[in-house]
Amino acid sequence: MNKSRNFLYGSLLLLPAAVLLWTFTYQPVLATIYNSFFTTPKGRRPSVFIGADHYTRMIEDPVFWQALTNNILYAAVTIPASMGLALAMALFVNSRMSGQGLVRMAYFTPTVLPMVAVANIWLFFYAPSYGPVDQLLGLIGLGHNNLLGTPSTALWSLIVITIWKEAGFFMIFYLAALQQISPTLIEAARLEGASPWQIFRRVTAPLIMPTTLFVLVNALIGAFRLVDHVIALTKGGPDNSTTLLLFYIYETGFQYWDTSYAAALTVFLLAVLALIALFQFGYLDRKVHYR
């Protein structure tokens, strides 16, 4: 009697969250998978079942492959660079110095700015001839570039913006982790004769490993999730050189209105993200020491 009542209360307490999760997460996921096996309904033609046709089309779609390679390159460069920079900045502002608060705030500012505002700032930075970046390049004789308008440099320009914006965000997590480490541990290591580098490698780094993992997963998901700057700056161009997966999905779904193919692309992206999550929980979690 008591047990079943407990079960009832428990279920009722879980219900609101369950309803929200179902409506906005699981139901759309299932609908997306379902829709990816049908054609896009047009005015007179209702959608028909086509099996895995969208997936075979994906394999033959050069733009999809371009978006995927772009995205992998984008992730492979932005993640280590922004995490490394974040850790370096956190170590720097964690040390005792004057003006510490000001430096911390300065590092964090790019993160609080909305991406569209950031895009506008960088649009000016990257402007050919009069933009500061091009002027600096001009000093070393490499001026007159349209950095965002040239296929070979456009993606790298976006990569720089992303690193600049994400590093400050990740720094906050690293800073919090560093401040959790008891100063006595560092003192003990110093007393035992460890050099600053040894202290970092053998004490600090292992102790902030849980944070590194957390930041890594966040960065990975972010690398596949962030499109604001693509939309605001390049719209995937020139010649698809800055098309990332999510931007391609957005373009297919809401520019060309090929929603079923967009659904198939989404399923692929979901699979990638699910793999990342599995990698985290299945493998990395066991290698990390949690206090």
């Binding site: 006595t184 035992e192 004769g193 053998r202």
Partner: protein, 353 residues
């Protein structure tokens, strides 16, 4: 001299934590730095370890001036109050941390680890992480990490304060016997006078950043240099009572009995609770409280306006509110100057006819 500290000063901004401290420890001695919290004993230890920089003064270890050297170059090891074990490393890795960063070969490391683990009874704990060990086990690992380096000086910062009372008593004897067996010089910070008295060859009692008294445990107990030392050592501590002028000398207020054959200045009388006994022709007193501890009983009594504690063997059989008479041997009396708080050895004890 294995450790010698002279005119050591440490300022934190405007406040002075360590104020002109000098002392020396011979090789193989066990020195206790004793004092209440905030007296500067831990700061002194950190200065010797090199974890903080001295404002002025010098520190020498083994005849070598180390005042400006890095902690690792001073040739000492340390046990921290919180143990400071690395939580991500096993006991063995924690103990070997120093040898490993100093580049000892794997073979040497394992040989030394075996010796240290045997000595401290740690063999079965070597694979465990700090979170999988009890406080006492962590304490042993921390001790192992300090001892494996085989430095001649070992600093200990309140190493037993996080252990329960029973374990603490056991560790006290163990640390002391290890120190004697290995012949190392230990500098031991504690606020617990029982630890200092029972373990140390020399106790340095600190108060307000200065050394109040330095000497053997017997010196501190039998000849406290000041009222502070008298009241800090002993459980219960020494009774310190104000004296008033009486006809022909000084005595307790409200009593006609002469205690000191001295008429000038203001004096305080010190007497240990265990040196007082019940006596038929003694000083009249009223019992205020009685605490029974089995082997002895502590009575809190009033003589005139002042209260004092008396330790009587076994059950005293005196109830609260009872009127008793207290006596003592004249040699048990000690005198202090009331204005300076310092010991006065020039006072003549008045011998009753």
């Amino acid at each position: 001299m294995d450790i010698s500290v002279s005119h050591l000063v440490k300022d934190w901004g405007t406040s002075r934590a360590v104020d002109d401290i000098s002392f020396a420890a011979e090789k193989g001695q066990f020195i206790a730095l004793l004092g209440p919290s905030g007296c500067g004993k831990s700061t002194t230890l950190r200065l010797i370890a090199g974890l903080d920089d001295a404002t002025s003064g010098t520190i020498a270890i083994g005849d070598r001036d180390v005042t400006r050297l890095m902690p690792a170059k001073r040739g000492l090891s340390m046990v921290f109050q919180s143990y400071a074990l690395f939580p991500h490393l096993t006991a063995a890795e924690n103990i070997l941390f120093g040898l490993s960063v100093r580049g000892f070969s794997k073979g040497e490391q394992q040989a030394k680890l075996k010796l240290t683990a045997d000595m401290l009874g740690l063999e079965h704990l070597l694979d465990r992480r700090p979170s999988q060990m009890s406080g006492g086990q962590q304490q042993r690992v921390a001790l192992g990490r300090a001892l494996i380096a085989e430095t001649s000086v070992c600093l200990l910062d309140e190493p037993l304060s996080n252990l329960d009372a029973k374990l603490r008593a056991g560790m006290r004897t163990e640390i002391r016997s290890l120190q004697k067996r290995l012949g190392i010089t230990m500098l031991y910070v504690t606020h617990d006078q029982t630890e200092a008295m029972s373990m140390a060859d020399q106790v340095i009692l600190m108060n307000g950043g200065r050394i109040e008294q330095a000497g053997s445990p017997t010196d501190l107990y039998e000849k406290p240099a000041s009222v502070f030392a008298a009241r800090f050592i002993g459980t219960p501590p020494m009774n310190v009572l104000d004296l008033a002028k009486v006809e022909g000398g000084m005595g307790l207020p409200g009593s006609m009995r002469l205690l000191a054959a001295q008429t000038s200045g203001e004096l305080q009388l010190g007497i240990r609770p265990e040196h007082i006994h019940l006596s038929d022709d003694g000083e009249p007193a009223v019992v205020q409280a009685s605490e029974y501890f089995g082997a002895d009983t502590i009575l809190t009594c009033c003589i005139g306006p002042q209260s004092l504690q008396v330790r009587l063997p076994g059950r005293a059989g005196v109830s609260e509110g009872a009127a008793i008479r207290l006596g003592w041997s004249p040699t048990a009396l000690q005198f202090f100057d009331r204005s300076t708080g310092l010991r006065r050895d020039d006072v003549t004890v008045f011998k009753n006819p």
